[in-house]
């Protein structure tokens, strides 16, 4: 097909934030995750664990605990002392309610989701009522000295168990009195260190399970106040635990990065007497596992190494499917890099600042695999710090490289970039029209004349960019029927006639763009039961190529308002099994203007050139056949060619774009590079080191 000059960029210093807590939706379809920087993410199990919603963090809003309540409402509480409800359709945090007990360490909802209990720094446990539109303080339970680090409701909602340092206590909810106080260190000889109960759970049988900083998982009979069983799972602290719904399996996370499964098993085969047995150890993480969750079919763990690991329980899985494989997610399922093709600039988005880089260049050419000598080094042009505590939602650089825009939860900023010789000057565009924030996605048109801003309720604002540095609001495009979800992906066409937008209810709407006299909604792509992970409009045919999170690829002809024949052929034939079983979703699609049949796409582990003119591979052929092809003589290659040309050289791949017809830019973030920037994990003696 051809050779590409690949700009291999590894200077994007992204350090994903560690996972602080996890919350499985009671019906098991979604997983909420909070990171140490306060960002909240929602993963959809049904859509191949796609990261479907991201609410960026806030400097002052750390999240210590998340819980689902009253159906699909998500609440978070943190050391700021506030309880915050998250607006999942508007992708923002609603105003918080002060808990009134200092920093909140833990929060749990009762089994019906009507009440929230919070554990505070001052040792109090407070009950809040979940009411439409917010929460209401109900009452205080018995307050004892010592911060309440963890809480658990009894499934019948009659009791709450609260873990503190060196002890835990059981509180009767109706009376509000402490009915039992158990010293976890009582049985050990007078320990010098304090013992922190990091996680606790109250089972329906009345057993209390505690995980403490001595690395023990202990089972207590709370009525007698006796220790039933004790398992020392680790030499360092056991930080988190989660119990399955059937209460026959427990997952424990430790500070060494190991997770352990304990199962309630009969002592003799078929016997009645059952005991808890430590069954499976896993070592997926390198750092503390601060959060674990137990879905009906999988063990889920999140660590400070920013990894989310979903480990299916094979005995619970009936047939081989996407869910049957171990999944690890480190990087977001959306792009944080934008590229000015013409100016060869890259814009990196960090949580609170942006970096603008100019790519280097070379004058040499070479053969496959060669590294070309650089005649110009890449240049860090500017770092743009966002003011205020809010984290950045989205950012974009215009194709010509002279405009940079970004948005936080409350404000939208537009800058003009002037590159004259060596100096780079950045000037803020004054009087940017006030909009209902936030913007979820920014996209400049191909000619850099206008800017599209994705906004809440399915609307898209169109700004006209004015020389030398102005901006005017032109229109707001709205879907014909009301839409509650925010638009999170945009794709303008190269000719400026069309714009495709994807909102959270998974409808990609296509609206005519600025130059079209009828600024009307044109059509809606048929609804598909998975989230859109990337989309793009072909520059010459105006076909919309859509990648879904279940790895399906569809091509939709905008003028004809129907799927193209190629897309139908793909659907009827089915994609290659190896393609469908991939880990991460396609995050970016681009085209080669010189070769209309080529579609370039990438996910975290591969980049693919999809050549529509070639036959599709069937399951018996090798999908990743580039290395095989390279061994073959020219004559034999023809028979082996198929549409998917896959390169796995660049990993993990955060971004890929085509600069010109044979020049690619790829942005990698080697795992080792950011691991070195994490705090040191608990030192462990390893054999031979």
């Amino acid at each position: 097909m051809g050779e590409f000059e690949v700009h291999r960029v590894r200077f994007f210093g992204l350090v994903p934030a560690g996972v602080r807590c996890l919350a499985c939706h009671p019906r098991g379809s979604r997983l909420a995750l909070a990171r140490t920087d306060g960002a909240v993410e929602v993963y959809n199990f049904a859509a191949n664990y796609f990261q479907e919603k991201v609410i960026p963090g806030h400097e002052l809003r750390t999240v210590e605990s998340l819980c689902w309540a009253a159906g699909d409402r998500l609440f978070g509480a943190g050391l700021s002392g506030d309880i915050t409800e998250y607006d999942l359709s508007g992708l923002s945090a609603a105003r918080g309610v002060d808990g009134g007990g200092g920093p909140i360490w833990s929060m749990v909802a009762n089994s019906t989701g009507t009440q929230l209990a919070i554990g505070c720094e001052d040792g109090s446990v407070k009950i809040f009522q979940v009411v439409p539109g917010g929460i209401q303080f109900e009452r205080n339970l018995d307050r004892r000295k010592g911060r309440v680090l963890c809480l658990s409701w009894h499934p019948s909602d009659t009791h709450i168990v609260a873990g503190s340092i060196d002890f835990f206590r059981v509180i009767d909810v109706t009376s509000g009195q402490t009915v039992q106080r158990i010293m976890v260190n009582h049985h050990v000889e007078k320990a010098k260190r304090e013992c922190v109960v990091w996680a606790i759970s109250l089972l329906s049988s009345g057993t209390v399970v505690s995980a403490d900083s001595f690395g023990r998982v202990q089972f207590w009979d709370w009525e007698q106040g006796t220790l039933a069983e004790s398992h020392t799972v680790s030499t360092s602290a056991a930080l988190s635990l989660a119990v399955s719904e059937k209460e026959d399996s427990i997952i424990v996370g430790t500070s060494t990065g190991a997770t352990y499964q304990l199962q309630l098993l009969p002592v003799t085969l078929g016997g009645q007497e059952k005991r808890w047995v430590r069954t499976k150890p896993f070592q997926f993480h390198s750092h503390d596992v601060r959060a674990v969750a137990h879905s009906p079919t999988a063990l889920i763990s999140g660590g400070l190494d920013a990894q989310l690991v979903i480990r299916p329980l094979m005995e619970k899985i009936q047939k081989k499917s996407y869910d049957a494989a171990l999944r690890k997610f480190t990087f977001p399922h959306r792009r944080l890099v934008s590229c000015a093709r013409k100016a060869r600039l890259l814009l990196f988005q960090f949580s609170q600042y942006l970096e603008l880089w100019r790519l280097g260049s070379t004058e040499e050419t070479g053969k496959d695999g060669e590294v070309l000598p650089l005649c110009q080094m890449p240049e860090h042009l500017v770092q743009l710090k966002s003011k205020g505590p809010e984290h950045i939602y989205c950012s974009c650089v215009s194709p010509c490289g002279t405009w940079v825009g970004y948005s936080t939860a409350s404000r939208f900023h537009l800058y003009r970039v002037h590159c004259d010789g060596d100096g780079v000057s950045l000037r803020k565009v004054p009087k940017v029209p006030k909009l209902l924030p936030p913007a979820y996605q920014l996209q400049f048109s191909a000619d850099s004349d206008s800017l599209f801003v994705a906004s809440a309720r399915g609307s898209v604002h169109v700004f006209q960019l004015l020389e030398p540095g102005g901006c005017k609001h032109l229109h707001t495009l709205r879907p014909p029927s009301g839409c509650s979800e925010a638009v999170y992906l945009l794709a303008p066409s190269a000719d400026g006639h069309w714009l495709a937008a994807v909102s959270g209810d998974w409808v990609s709407a296509v609206v005519p763009s600025v130059h079209c006299p009828l600024l009307q909604h044109h059509c809606t792509v048929p609804t598909y039961n998975c989230a859109v992970s990337a989309l793009a409009i072909h520059p010459s045919t105006n076909n919309l190529v859509i990648a879904y999170s279940d790895q399906q690829l569809l091509e939709f002809s905008i003028p004809e308002k129907q799927y193209t024949s190629w897309s139908r052929a793909v659907q009827s034939r089915g994609l290659h099994r190896a393609w469908l079983e991939r880990d991460s979703p396609i995050t970016h699609i681009t085209f080669n203007p010189k070769n209309p049949s080529h579609i370039l796409l990438h996910d975290t582990y591969l980049l693919c050139v999809l050549d529509k003119s070639l036959p599709l591979p069937d399951d018996s052929t090798l999908l990743m056949n580039q290395s095989t092809l390279k061994q073959l003589p020219e004559t034999a290659r023809k028979r082996q060619l198929h549409a998917f040309k896959i390169c796995k050289k660049f990993q993990p791949l955060l971004f890929m774009d085509l600069l010109d017809e044979n020049c690619l830019v790829v942005v990698e973030r080697p795992i080792m590079d950011f691991k070195t920037q994490l705090p040191l994990p608990v030192q462990q003696k390893k054999f031979g080191t």
Binding site: M1, G2, E3, F4, E5, V6, H7, R8, V9, R10, F11, G360, S361, T362, T365, G366, K367, D368, G369, E370, V371, L372, L374, M377, P378, V609, S620, T621, L622, Q626, T628, L629, K630, Q631, L632, P633, T635, A636, R637, R639, Q640, L641, K645, C647, K649, L664, P670, D673
Partner: protein
Amino acid sequence: MAALCESFTLRGPGPGGDGPGLCLEPGPGPDLVLLTERGRAATLFKISDQKPLGCWSLKHGQILTCPVVCNFETHEYIAVHDDKVLRIWKSEDISLDKAFKATLSADVYRIHSLPHGGLLVLFRGGGVRTLDELLEAPQQEIENVISGEAIRWSGAFMEDQQPVLIFTTEKDEDFFVYVQKPKLNSLHKYKLEQQESAKPLCFTAHITNQTVTLLCLYSNDSVYQILIPLQQDTEEEEEEKEILSKSLLLNFSISQAVLKGTSLVALDKDHIAVLGSLNAPKKQPKECLTIWNTKFQTLQTSKELPLGTSGQLWCYEEKFFLIHGKVLTVIMYKCETSSLAAAVGKLKCSQTPDVSSFMNWNTLEDEELVVSFQSQESVGLKAESRMNLRSKKSIDAELPFDSLSPGQVLARFKDAPNYLLETKFRRLMARAPTPDLQATVGGVVNVLTDRCKNSKYYPQDFLQEIVETWDLSYSLCPDLMAVGLEKKDMHLLQTCLERFPDIPEEITYACLKAFLSISEAHLENTDVNLDSVICYIDVESDKKEVKTEIVENGFSAQMDQDMCGTKIPKESQSWSDDESCPVGPQKAALLNAVLHSAYTETFLLPHLKNLPAQEAVLFLRYLYYLYVKCSGKVNTTLPGIRSPTINQIMDWMCLLLDAHFTVMVMLPEAKELLSNLHRFVRAQVRFYSELNKIEGSLRELQRLNHLRESHTYSIEVLEII
């Protein structure tokens, strides 16, 4: 079981090649034979090369009067011409005129050369001398032992480190046998028992356990056996001529036909070979060579010689030599220890009718159905076919097809016409999957293969389709592959080999043999799945192959064989890097299927030993080609789907060498291949041990490389094909 193998011509038709004086004697070494012809010349032949190594002839007017023999110790040749003149020469000598010459006092009948026993000279008068004795005093007096008798046959043997000479004489229709031990000066004379209206035509003898077994071919188409004890005590009176009784060993009558034997050779204690003409009533007599088992009185094998023979037959080193037409022909044979099972030779086989009876479980299952058919069949011969059709129809009407159980369907349509069979079975298999559908499909295949046996019916596409769509196994349809072999359906065999997990080694071997022996021309028109080969085979290089062969002619590659290691001369390198595949792509694909099939070494090895040498060499050549191809790649894997792995190639190569080690060593055409292979393996071993050494440094480099890679920016070239 004895068998006649391939034959070839040792010497083409010479001038008047059927001279009466033609005689063969073993040469000075293995694979050499000494031919005395037309009374004037002696020629030394190398049998496997089919060419003469030397030829010596006499001056005009002189005649060789007995076969030229070779002294096995000194490698000298001894001839007698004009009855009395002895000549001794070496193979370097060119002219016999200058050779050693001694004139004897009596006429020589024949000289016998014995390994480790020297040479014995038998005179016409019955006297025997060793050659050494004669050479000391050539003119010594030779006694006359026989009076008025003419020697008909003589033979010499070693027994107890002693040479023994036996000869038979004839006088007035009486036959006498003389046994002489020249070293002990003992002589015994026996008289042969007379046989009415028949006389001995040919003799042969062997000695076992102090007993001479004399076999005698009589003119009444029988072989008689005469046992002569070799007594140690010589005191017995010589006046009384002992009469030797004979016993009938064999009668050559082959179902009305009669073999008129002319020549007899004993092969081992149970087998004899007879050359003769087969006279069947009302038919032209046919000359043929036959091997008989005397123990079981059976004809083991025979070969027709339509061009006629001279009636003479020699046998050395498991080869028959005879004059067929005007050429000297060599026929190789194999003769194994006879067992009862092996003795059921050709003759018996043709007599037994081909009956095979086995249970058909499907029939038993639906016994009632069968009974009803039979009763209807017995109603009347004329109405039979019509009745049958009608009854089938009526049953069809009663029970719709889809409600029948698979077993019923199989039983009912077992005898249906061919066109109906396929459509019904297709419908049967299209049913919704049930747990036993697999077994049903197996049943369908069995019904089809039963029908295919011994008939022209062969639903190739249908069988192919079944094998491809269903996960069958060998045990579900054990006859399928046998039928495929019988019908030479290469594609089906290939698919079976690729899909069946449980093929017995015997069948795997049968497939391998079939694949190797089938001609490329036939394969070119066959539809074979080429997926496993197209990625690495070079189809275009066919012509190149021919060229390199021309180049290698006249180039003595053996000279450089012992050059080892890295310093291979350029010419020989280009020669050994013979890149073209020794087999066509179709054959390669079939062989790959065999390479892929599962096997157990212990069970495969005995079968593999039966692979003919030429085919074994071809297979080894292909394996070597694959090996070289594999080694060309760093990861030693061949591209493509289902292409053989390096481990499979090595395993098969080892197996094949194990099975055919001796053959390979003997076979001249395998020699180059083996030495190439050896050289290549040695180079590989050396190469890998070198790699071992540098692995450590490479690892360090890799680490450094990794450090280098941590640079944050580079521009690289990426080729996407």
